[in-house]
């Protein structure tokens, strides 16, 4: 099923091993925030109804202002949720047998794609920090590559330790293949 993904610049013989989004809890938090924002006008409406201020909706000025601002508010939070979902869904890390590709959507007009070859990976570190990440088993993964000062960082990755072990296993397999090829070349 992983092969169905649109892998950017697929290398010959490259196979997708794992596709990672941020933990689903992050999406849940965003959905919860959307729900909380969505019920605020309903709360105001109920307060106005309980105190008998509902006649204000028939006012010449306040009525239209309330209707237009409520409509604008709901359009805004709906777009905000759509944007937050896009941000969650488009932030992807693809682990293949050849490389690690990190795709990050930052705002409406910024998109970063970075990739590291498995042969360049020197060190992989996972970090699960805090109560909620510990309970729900997600965290950050730092990948140090040769010849690069900056680390390749994946945030809020589910099962960070398992992913770290997976990357190490792929790197080791990659290195053993290179060693075998070198031996064959020498022979």
């Amino acid at each position: 099923m992983n092969q169905d993904y649109n892998l950017p610049n697929r290398l010959p013989g490259e196979k997708v091993i794992k596709v990672l989004n941020r933990h689903k809890l992050i999406l849940f938090f965003r959905f919860f925030m959307f729900c909380a924002l969505a019920i605020i006008p309903l709360g105001f409406f109920l307060i106005m109804m309980s105190r008998g201020y509902l006649n204000i909706l028939n006012d010449l000025v306040y009525g239209p202002v309330i209707i237009l601002s409520t409509s604008g508010y709901y359009l805004f939070i709906w777009l905000l949720f759509f944007f937050l979902f896009s941000d969650y869904y488009l932030d992807v890390c693809i682990i293949t047998n050849e490389r690690i590709i990190g795709i990050m959507q930052k705002g409406f007009f910024s998109r970063t794609i970075s990739e590291k070859m498995m042969s360049c990976v020197q060190d992989v570190t996972s970090e699960i920090k805090g109560v909620i990440p510990t309970l729900f088993n997600y965290g950050s993964i730092f990948i140090q590559t040769a010849g690069e000062v900056e680390r390749f960082t994946l945030f809020e990755v589910p099962e960070a330790e398992a992913v770290r072990e997976l990357v190490i296993k792929i790197v080791e397999e990659h290195q053993s293949k290179i060693e075998e090829n070198n031996k064959q070349d020498n022979e």
Partner: protein, 81 residues
């Protein structure tokens, strides 16, 4: 200072126009860069459906208002030099 009620409607339309531009950009990103096409299309469909619902309900209320009326701002005499 007397202001036409329709001014509020024009401000709302301007907001909707800006909202529409950002919506299109967001939908474009999701459809263009989505790694699984079905999720991109499905989410965009849900977004458009709910947006149409919000605009339809809003329009029902907006049509009930007489936008040709005028109102005066409180303390309007301050602006009448």
């Amino acid at each position: 200072m007397v202001i036409s009620l329709s001014l509020l409607l024009y401000i709302y339309y301007a907001f909707v126009a800006v909202w529409l531009i950002f919506s299109l950009i967001c939908a474009y990103h999701l459809l263009r860069f989505s790694i699984n096409n079905f999720v991109g299309f499905f989410t965009t469909f849900i977004f458009i459906a709910v947006s149409i619902l919000i605009i339809f309900v809003s329009n029902n209320y907006i049509n009930q208002i007489d936008w040709s009326l005028n109102f005066s701002l409180p303390g309007g005499s301050f602006f009448n030099f």
